[in-house]
């Protein structure tokens, strides 16, 4: 696809050498002078009242930090969209792992000895752990009198109840998905140092400006008094979007109390047991068909397991409901979302941010609707593909050209789908499946303008170097390469002349979070615009700055109160086929092929795009297959990388990766969001393939080997009604 002067042509990643040589300094590598270490004391019960925290005698230089150390005027909460998540538990605990306090001192071994001797007395209460238990208010409701943290309803077309009255057939089906742990390579860690009349936070994090805003109320200081410096970040996947606040808040209070740098680094088990996860979900469909089997109406109730605190989950739930129609357009559509309070660790951002759950659900439901009628899922799904100008789930229109037909052709050709579907009989042990998915790029609606107002600066230095100043972070996805490449390409200077460092909030403007597939699409565009403004002056002026600000295109209204209008101006689109073989003795599933095509607009760097596709697709297969994270009593049962099973490169053959070139009007060089899109569909394709191979209907993920055997022995036949 790339021509010589095309920006798509790959360059060597800017961060490649320092990371491969081990020279990159991650938080644990940084030596902070006179630094104290912190260990968290956390709730060991899912629900209860704290009666007493029993501490051993603390040696000199060691102290305990809890909510009582928040100074007068400070607020004991973390601002993560909502403000209900406490920095320190006071009298009640709502989940296992809730922060009660920090033990702080100079020696980590002494701290480890002390931690072993801390105990907490609770008056335990009956927890609600699953979505069903939360809805049933097991143990009594603890949020809003009904355990519903948040709720929304959207509908398009004719009223669903009216349409149901004239349907020939109504199909009801429930699809469920489980927890998913991020397993970023680098665990969470942060350090807070008093400096001048403020504080400096060093953190492995996605969103430095979020941290500042979230924790400043603890000391009742302005966010500007806190400087956040991102340290080299070894992966995040959404797990370091809001979650670093949970470390940085208590560390800020500890630094305030001790007047010293306080550092905390989680080990792997600690990180898995005590960090946010992807929301488990349950989607209940009610779909009305006419007598020819065509869909007249699709109604859904979307339940997300939010956990003990709301924090960012309402936005996740919204995205879930907005994506539950998938890549389809139905005459009538309705969806109602419920964020359910449970006594589990609060769920939070994870690549896809609520979209993967409902996309998996609708893809699976569509397959089953087809198979009930003896149709190939592909033929059935094709009838409903959404097109440019069609109405979206929020009564906006699809603005861009939808290239699903072209992408489908690429995938069909690469995978040889049509031949294989004929050849691999249902239940033959071999199967191929296919899925369609999208992802609305950037913040919903006009959020980019009303909530973020992203700014970005380019600074030209006398020696010809240009520095990009913005809050965007590199976390392994390639952004340290993408932004400089955009600037260099516009300015027609070598990429080596463009400097882009890990952000320091005291010297860069707030360009919004590195999340929501927005960085290339939104901030990349600000850099492109700034570079264009700089270009004429570049050789004439020795040193100057250009600042750009995000402006939402006119004519695409959005109402955040009613969830009506243009939710997203640019969607990424995807088609993915997966082929599997199932071992007839052991039920082991071997992935024999994966072929995908994605529309991320015009790619800014093909190799980085390929990296995103390969990783996202495999992560999606892991979510659907091996990544079992159980929680039935409030405790996560999988606590290490040997029992929480993420796939390795051995679990998937070389992927067939296709892209389409569909330049996005408002993106840099035509690029739009991609990072989450690539996760959103491979799970559904995998399950489609697996269910065909074993001839059984699968309604819930993950499906590890033992579960495959269970379906083989007891599952409902594919095509049978529930």
């Amino acid at each position: 696809m790339a021509t010589v002067n095309d920006i798509s042509k790959s360059v060597r990643r800017v961060d490649a050498v320092s990371k491969c040589e081990g020279k990159a300094k991650y938080l644990p590598d940084i030596d902070f002078r006179d630094c104290l270490w912190a260990r968290m004391i956390r709730s060991s019960v899912p629900r209860g009242k704290i009666i007493k925290v029993n501490l051993p005698d603390l040696p000199s230089g060691y102290c305990f930090v809890d909510y009582r150390d928040i100074p007068e005027g400070g607020h004991n909460y973390l601002h993560m969209i909502a403000t209900d998540w406490k920095c320190f538990a006071e009298d009640e605990v709502r989940y296992v792992g809730e922060t009660i306090g920090l033990l702080v001192g100079p020696d980590r071994t002494v701290l480890a000895d002390l931690i072993d001797r801390v105990s907490v007395d609770y008056e335990e209460q009956i927890p609600a752990v699953t979505i069903d238990e939360g809805l049933a208010c097991k143990g009594g409701a603890f949020v809003n009198g009904n355990n519903i943290h948040c709720h929304l309803k959207i509908e398009t077309g004719e009223n669903a109840d009216e349409v149901f009255k004239r349907c020939a057939k109504i199909v009801e089906e429930t699809v469920e998905t489980g927890f998913q742990e991020h397993i970023y390579l680098e665990t969470n860690g942060a350090c807070c140092c008093p400096e001048g009349d403020g504080y400096v936070i060093y953190a492995s994090a996605q969103c430095p400006f979020y941290i500042r805003k979230s924790i400043a109320p603890l000391l009742n200081i302005s966010p500007e008094k806190i400087t956040v410096r991102q340290t080299v970040t070894g992966g995040a996947f959404g797990g370091k979007e809001h979650f670093p606040d949970v470390l940085c808040g208590p560390l800020l209070v500890a630094a305030h109390k001790t007047g010293k740098c306080v550092k905390m680094v989680f080990d792997r088990e600690e990180d898995i047991e005590n960090s946010v996860k992807r929301h488990p979900s349950k989607v209940v469909f009610k779909t009305g068909l006419d007598k020819e089997g065509n869909i007249l109406v699709m109604d859904s109730k979307v339940y997300y397991n939010v956990g003990g605190y709301l924090s960012s989950s309402f936005v996740v739930l919204q995205r879930g409901c907005f994506h539950v129609a998938g890549c389809y357009s139905f005459p009538s559509f309705r969806s109602e979302g419920f964020g359910v309070a449970t006594n589990t660790f609060p769920s939070c951002a994870f690549r896809g941010f609520g979209a993967p759950q409902t996309l998996f659900a609708v893809e699976t439901h569509m397959c089953h609707l087809a198979q009930m009628q003896g149709l190939d899922p592909l033929e059935f799904k094709s009838r409903y593909f959404i097109k440019q100008g069609d109405t979206t789930s929020t009564n906006g229109k699809v603005v861009e050209k939808v290239m699903i037909p072209q992408m489908l052709e690429q995938v069909l050709k690469a995978s040889d789908y049509r031949r294989k579907v004929k050849e691999y009989k249902i239940g033959s042990g071999r199967g191929i499946g296919i899925s369609f998915y999208n992802h609305g790029g950037a913040f919903t609606g006009n959020g980019e303008q009303s909530l973020i107002k992203a700014h970005c600066r380019l600074h030209k230095y006398p020696d010809g170097h240009v520095e990009i100043l913005c809050g965007q972070t590199e976390m392994g996805q390639g952004f340290h390469t993408i932004l400089p490449k955009i600037a260099a390409h516009v300015l027609e200077i070598p990429i080596e002349k463009v400097v882009f460092e890990d952000p320091d909030t005291s010297r860069v403007p707030d360009s919004g979070p590195t999340a929501a597939s927005r960085s290339t699409m939104i901030v990349g565009d600000l850099v492109e615009k700034a570079a264009k403004l700089m270009k004429d002056r570049y050789s004439k002026e020795s040193e100057f700055e250009i600042e750009t600000e995000y402006e939402h295109p006119e004519g695409y209204p959005w109402n955040q109160d009613t969830f009506q209008g243009y939710a997203y101006l640019g969607y990424g689109w995807g088609v993915c086929a997966v082929e599997v073989e199932v071992d007839p003795c052991t039920a082991e599933v071997a992935v024999k092929g994966v072929w995908s095509s994605h529309d991320g607009g015009h790619p800014v760097d093909e190799l980085i795009v390929h990296g995103q596709v390969n990783g996202g697709v495999l992560q999606g297969i892991g979510w659907a297959s091996t990544e079992v994270m159980e929680n039935t009593d409030g405790h996560f049962r999988q606590t290490s990388m040997s029992d929480y099973i993420v796939p390795t490169s051995m679990d998937c053959p070389r992927q067939g990766v296709d892209l389409v070139d569909n330049p996005y009007e408002w993106g840099p060089f035509g690029a739009k969001g991609l990072g989450e899109l690539v996760f959103n569909g491979s799970g559904a394709a995998y399950i489609d393939a697996l269910s065909r191979a074993i001839g059984k209907k699968i309604n819930a993920i993950p499906v590890p080997t033992e579960k495959v055997m269970e379906y083989i022995l007891h599952g409902k036949k594919l095509g049978e009604a529930d």
Partner: protein, 303 residues
């Protein structure tokens, strides 16, 4: 803060002397002990006894064949070394080559894998199957015990306080059998702990089974092998009814706690597969769970 006392002997003799006078924990690869005794990031592991580091003892690093044709594997040989050795019997090579990840295989030793006495351990399955013995050495002398007796029960071994495991002696190789089978169902394709592993081997005298062996890991508190079950088929001609008899009898032997249905069903299917294919006397000596769909052409429904 407690310090860890460690001994690093230079010879086996020195190690045995330390062992005879000190209550200590032998540590070779460390891939189990350093994990089970770890504390947290930046804090040294804690051991409740002194540690005897025998990782570098040359006397424990050799793989050879003795006068009786038995394979003698030094206790300190790593999984990687075992997997790459042409004199190591097939079942054991398979198990060693699929243990953990590369870094672990370069560190973990066979003695450690036995001494850990985990029901999910990779090497005990083949070692039980092949009647392998551990050689236990002290200043007083040497004794050899069947691995299946040495592992007494879950996480418990028959090692005297003054002894070290110095070698593993494997008397049988694939040459003793007409057909062999080893299949590990891991948690994933690589870097995986066993969910279930079956080792099988069979020898015929004409149409009569002259030897049959079967062992299963991750199916109870320790690796399972039952000579009683094997005797059901030895001396007889394989029939479908006899296969089912063996399957049912072995099902009584195993006692998986987690995922019992999966482990029982997959065990049944793998025994059925091996015995029925072996009874047809195919050319290929290695029998696996299935031949791959490409071999059979148009696949029939199997589920």
């Amino acid at each position: 803060m407690e310090e860890v006392r460690a001994y690093i002997p230079e010879t086996l003799k020195e190690a045995l002397e330390i062992r005879s006078r000190t209550d200590c924990i032998p540590l070779a690869g460390g891939s189990d002990l350093m994990v089970s005794n770890k504390r947290t990031t930046g804090v040294a592991p804690s051991f409740d006894k002194p540690v005897l580091i025998i990782r570098n003892l040359k006397e424990l690093k050799e793989i050879s064949v003795n006068g009786k044709g038995e394979c003698v594997i030094g206790a300190g040989c790593t999984s990687a070394e075992i997997a790459q050795s042409s004199v190591v019997p097939w079942h054991l090579r398979q198990a060693a080559s699929r243990m953990g990840a590369v870094a672990l295989r370069n560190s973990a030793t066979i003695a450690g894998n036995i001494a850990n006495a985990s029901p999910k351990g990779d090497t005990p399955g083949p070692l039980y199957l092949l009647d392998a013995r551990v050689r236990l050495t002290s200043l007083a002398g040497e004794r050899e015990v069947l691995v299946s007796d040495f592992i007494v029960k879950f996480k418990t071994i028959d090692l005297h306080p003054d002894e070290l495991i110095t070698a593993v002696v494997v008397p049988l190789s694939e040459r003793n059998f007409d057909y062999i089978f080893w299949h590990k169902v891991g948690t994933r394709k690589a870097n995986a702990i066993s969910k279930l592993t079956l080792s099988q081997a069979i020898k015929f005298d004409g149409r009569i089974v002259s030897d049959y062996r079967l062992s299963a890991t991750a199916t109870g508190a320790k690796t399972n092998r039952s000579r009683e079950v094997e005797k059901l088929i030895i001396g007889k001609e394989i029939t479908p009814a006899l296969i089912e008899q063996v399957i049912d009898a072995f099902d009584e032997v195993i006692s998986p706690r987690a995922m019992p249905e999966f482990r029982r069903e997959a065990t049944r299917r793998m025994i059925r597969r091996f015995l029925s294919v072996a009874s047809e006397r195919p050319e290929n000596r290695v029998i696996d769970t299935f031949d791959g769909f490409h071999v059979t052409g148009q696949p029939e429904p199997v589920f």
